[in-house]
């Protein structure tokens, strides 16, 4: 699946997007964050405080317990500050 990162999540990871292939045991948004944390210090820094990270699956907001199975695109970002 494609992973996108925005704002300071993008900056901390050092990537705007990448292809990821989590194992089958990773089934929810929260589990995916945990799995990403293990990929390096930059990911660990980005996801250090999971409560401040929002996620979207296929361009729709998704809660931590949302299943990622069917998603082609996942995105992680800070709380939004538009408008």
């Amino acid at each position: 699946m494609k992973a996108l990162y925005f704002a300071w999540v993008r900056e901390r990871i050092g990537l705007a997007e990448e292809e990821i292939a989590p194992p089958a045991s990773v089934t929810t948004v929260a589990e995916l964050m945990d799995w990403l944390k293990g990929r390096g210090e930059n990911y660990a820094a980005a996801f250090a405080n999971e409560r401040t990270i929002r996620a979207a699956l296929d361009r729709r907001h998704a809660k931590p317990d949302a299943p990622i199975a069917a998603a082609k695109e996942v995105a992680f970002f800070p709380p939004m500050t538009g408008g």
């Binding site: 704002a7 907001h61 709380p79 538009g82």
Partner: protein, 150 residues
């Protein structure tokens, strides 16, 4: 009529004209313009990052929800991204309805949701080109959106 747009360029109040042009069944038109403040000189520009594709989709979802909640005759949302100078507009929301109560409520609902749900992130640029911090989400905005339920 539904006008939803994402753009880099500034816009003017004239953008709302199509909402009421040739119509004689609209009694109330409310607009909200969000403008870039210079924060007493601390800010040289705002940079707005967005999630292309999701920003459009989320704006459309919020507008559709507003249209379900209130009898609107027209809605406009224009949101900018990129670099925005103090005094320039960032966002324009307009709602047209038969009566004012609905138009006011829908415009506030749209702004409260756009602030907290549309994937935009602001970063402050200081004088001398210094790139500053990402703007933090305001607790007031989170509280404002909760009043609409759901």
């Amino acid at each position: 009529m539904k006008i939803l747009r994402l753009q880099k360029e500034p816009f003017t109040a004239a953008e709302i004209a199509p909402l009421t042009e040739g119509r004689s069944d609209i009694g109330a038109l409310v607009t909200f313009t969000g403008l870039c403040r210079d924060e007493e000189g601390r800010l040289a520009a705002l940079e707005i990052e967005h999630y292309p594709g999701m920003a459009e989709a989320e704006i459309e979802r919020v507008v559709d929800e507003a249209c379900r909640r209130w009898p609107l005759e027209g809605v406009l949302v224009i949101h900018r991204y990129g670099l925005i100078r103090p005094g320039e507009p960032i966002v324009l929301v307009a709602t047209a309805s038969k009566h004012r109560t609905e138009a006011f409520a829908a415009a506030q609902f749209l702004m409260d949701y756009l602030k907290t749900h549309a994937p935009f992130w602001k970063r402050e640029h200081g004088p001398n080109g210094r790139v500053g911090d990402w703007v933090g989400a305001r607790e007031e905005d989170e509280a404002a959106v909760r009043r609409w339920g759901g």
